[in-house]
């Protein structure tokens, strides 16, 4: 969850593509074990009577490894377990929803620190998630003084 957020864990490289592992500095168990996402109910996790916005989420690849795109982070999340043929999109969607429900999306971590208006931390993916952004204060850079005249 958000309390684990630590900027020093990040391992940003200079390569063109940026994936979740670089931004968060870690991997997550459900990237390696299909049984951890098997019980994700996609219909229940999304508004409406079908899978709603997940209709546009498909299995893609990053660095030659199957991956799903996390639009809340603008980065790929790699999937390392073997995916049964014909169920590629289903597993991509389940991994993504698990990632969002557990609050591990880098974009959601940013929300924990930087949201300016009160809102549920885990948005529409998890009922009863804590509220963030209630007491936002502008970040202060220690030792910085505004230039004269400002």
């Amino acid at each position: 969850m958000s309390d684990l957020f630590d900027l020093s864990d990040r391992k940003l490289s200079t390569r063109q593509g940026i994936d979740t592992e670089e931004l968060t500095g870690k991997t997550f168990p459900y990237q390696f074990d299909a049984t951890l996402v098997d019980d994700v109910d996609l219909d229940a996790a999304t508004p409406g009577d079908d899978i709603n916005w997940l209709e546009d989420v498909h299995l893609m690849s990053e660095d030659g490894i199957p991956a799903v795109f996390d639009r809340y982070t603008n980065a790929f999340l790699k999937i390392h377990f073997p995916i049964p043929e014909g169920r590629e999109d289903e597993y991509a969607r389940k991994v993504l929803i698990k990632h969002l429900q557990e609050g591990n999306s880098y974009g959601i971590w940013l929300k924990y620190r930087h949201a300016k208006f009160a809102q549920p931390e885990l948005g529409s993916w998890l009922a009863g998630s804590p509220t963030v952004g209630e007491n936002w204060r502008p970040p202060v850079l220690e030792g910085w003084e505004p230039p004269a005249g400002h």
Partner: protein, 264 residues
């Protein structure tokens, strides 16, 4: 300087919607268990939205009805949680925008830019909507049972737009992903400069836009259409035509005169 009028309302009201100085939820909703009713007659835009957020975020209310909306602009915007909202009447422009999770039903009409930038959720409008319906929409279902104006789904990046009637000109302009289902006729310039996505039209098409081409329907398309019409309890027209991007504009095939001079 923004003009702020002193009125008989519970607070100050900026008629141009620029300042909305009252930043407190009015707490006037009638709450009954998991549902609530907000009478919007005497509330400003900001007050209505703050009250909605108080109810769905703070009070954990899952079903809210807004009465007397008075076609105000920018109502039910930026809601980032699962909830059901019924607007009993009509709304103005930028209604239900920036949503990520809410299921909103508007019983009347709406103005332009309905559900602009919606991330996920469902918006159903029983009557007509203005231009730019579903602009830059990224996900979710947007259903308008009546007609819509021009540039429906401009810059659409995902989700499904279902229109029971006709659409105006430049429908699907610069569409990048997602689906549009038009039960009636489409105006001139359908799918102009679209990059991706599918547009299904049951009626006539006045003309196709640049790089928009017709493609054969597949069983997957029929499954999508059947599912969406079943979910929203609408009658499916018998025959649809499918339009997609011709992908001729992905790369230059001719050089501009200035570029030709450089190459030669």
């Amino acid at each position: 300087m923004v003009a702020v009028n002193e009125t008989s309302r519970t607070g100050r009201y900026d008629v141009r919607g620029l300042a909305e100085p009252d930043a407190e939820a009015p707490k006037t909703a009638r709450i009954d268990g998991d549902s609530a009713v907000v009478d919007a007659a005497d509330l400003s835009t900001r007050q209505i939205n703050l009250e909605l957020r108080r109810l769905v975020y703070g009070e954990g209310i899952s079903e809210v009805t807004v009465t007397n909306p008075g076609a105000k602009h920018s109502i039910a915007v930026g809601l980032l949680t699962r909830c059901r909202i019924t607007v009993d009447g009509s709304l103005g422009y930028f209604a239900c925008t920036l949503g990520d999770g809410p299921e909103i039903h508007v019983t009347g009409r709406v103005g332009w830019s309905l559900a602009e930038n919606m991330m996920s959720g469902v918006v159903v409008v029983d009557k007509n909507a203005g231009s730019l319906t579903g602009a830059a929409m990224r996900g979710g279902d947007l259903v308008v049972r009546g007609h819509v104006g021009a540039r429906t789904g401009i810059d659409q990046k995902g989700g499904t737009i279902l229109v029971g009637g006709n659409t105006g000109s430049m429908t699907g302009f610069m569409m990048q992903r997602g689906r549009q289902i038009i039960c009636g006729n489409a105006g001139p310039g359908l799918g102009d400069s679209m990059y991706d996505g599918e547009i299904y039209v049951a009626g006539t098409v006045a003309s196709l836009g640049v790089d928009c081409v017709e493609e054969e329907m597949t069983p997957r398309d029929d499954e999508l259409l059947d599912r969406k019409f079943r979910i929203y309890r609408m009658d499916r027209p018998e025959r649809f035509r499918k339009f997609v991007c011709g992908k001729q504009l992905y790369n230059y095939d001719t050089l501009e005169p200035s570029e030709r001079k450089l190459v030669l």
